[in-house]
Point group: C2
């Protein structure tokens, strides 16, 4: 049985996230599984690297499936991209060892959050970046974002739906950069709690607006209280940007 | 009577070009005029800087209208962006002198043509760049593109629909550049014939594929025969990128 790793880009706007849902709602996973079924003539289950929420995008989403078919990776990519809709496409297909797991083998993930810092909407960024009118001090927010780096209990930055026990995660890097009127928050960590990146962004924007003072983030982490953080930023600015795998596991990028 | 200059960005995918058509087909101009009518309570005619074809995009489209209303430019921009659909937005509103004309005052225009040079489609470039699989030698095509520069009779690069008498245009600059798997053709000139940029791109791609030899463009211009040029590249890679106005006329960028 071969294990095949697919790396996808998708525009999440018209999907209820990655994960298959019971009620027949269209998700990226269900769309991909339908395409695989039409190619291989049997139901094929896909294992993803993470859940993404409704409306969240991916520049590099990793997932695997198993098959006995000897179809080449090149042909699988072509057939999948022929079957898939324009907003979900496969940019890499490789065979990986049997013990590779898209979620458990993952050593780190990088998310980016795109903000269009302007008074006027941009048709090319509609649904792809948050339109945010107050002027962002990107250098100041970059300094604030550095306070997320390290191993912390992120209870204050976890959405209400979470029922995880261990809220500790390690953030390797976090930054805020500006390119013209586009501001990008980038964060790399070993894992992320429910809505964590979007709450990080909402908290940074509250600091930008003076609703929280500069230097607030270490205090917020201490408080372990979601109600003390900023709003959850909308899904449509968020991208799963890179998935890292260590060693020889193949696929994605190495840390 | 005030003359107001609007600068727009639009995603042309769902529009039959700029120009109002008789048959009630949705165009950018008709959409904009509908929005202005709902704001000012009367039919307002808009004069554009050029026609764009169905499916062509704009990063900077300039057009004007006249009104007796004393509404501030700031309020006009806000009201228009509220009324306009997500794929057409106004990023600048200014008052210009009475003798300014968006087409006749224009000294130059710049178009870009975006090519996604890859075997796999990218959801984020769908409808926004031409997917082109053969590897592009961007440095070589850049050298070829330089042959467009200068004042030439561009009959060989004019689509069949044109009935203009004078086919002479001056191209100030032309280039092909690569950024990862995105290749961009950029061309600036005092004016462009029907489909001229798209035929330039089709001709460059034929050179890339070896269907025309390197150094073919000066010969093509001599031939004055559309059938000797490359195919017309699809509309969805083309963007009106900048519109230049000389002197004090205001609006757009100066050459």
């Amino acid at each position: 049985m071969r294990q095949i790793l697919l790396r996808l880009k998708y525009l999440g706007t018209d999907y209820h996230g990655w994960q298959v849902q019971d009620n027949g709602i269209v998700t990226v996973q269900s769309t991909l599984q339908d395409a695989l079924e039409s190619i291989f003539g049997e139901r094929i289950d896909v294992v993803g690297c993470s859940r993404t929420d409704a409306g969240v995008h991916a520049n590099d989403y990793c997932c695997t499936f198993r098959t006995d078919a000897d179809t080449t990776c090149y042909k699988i990519q072509g057939a999948l991209n022929f079957k898939l809709p324009p907003d979900v496409k496969v940019f890499s297909v490789t065979e990986v060892p049997d013990d590779f797991h898209p979620r458990y083998s993952c050593t780190a993930k990088q998310y980016i959050y795109r903000i269009h810092n302007s008074v006027a909407p941009d048709p090319f960024l509609d649904g792809r970046a948050l339109l945010y009118k107050p002027v962002i001090d990107a250098d100041m927010l970059d300094r604030q974002a550095k306070d997320f780096i390290g191993t912390h209990d992120f209870t204050s930055l976890c959405g209400a739906k979470s029922d995880l026990e261990d809220m500790t995660r390690t953030i390797y890097d976090a930054s805020v950069t500006r390119d013209g009127d586009e501001v990008t928050f980038s964060v790399t960590g070993d894992g992320f709690l429910y809505n964590m990146v979007r709450i990080m962004v909402g908290t940074l924007l509250f600091i930008n607006e003076g609703k929280f003072e500069q230097g607030y983030i270490p205090k917020l982490l201490e408080l372990k209280d979601r109600t003390k953080a900023g709003r959850t930023a909308p899904a449509h600015g968020l991208y799963l940007n890179k998935v890292f795998y260590g060693g020889e596991a193949g696929g994605g990028e190495e840390v």
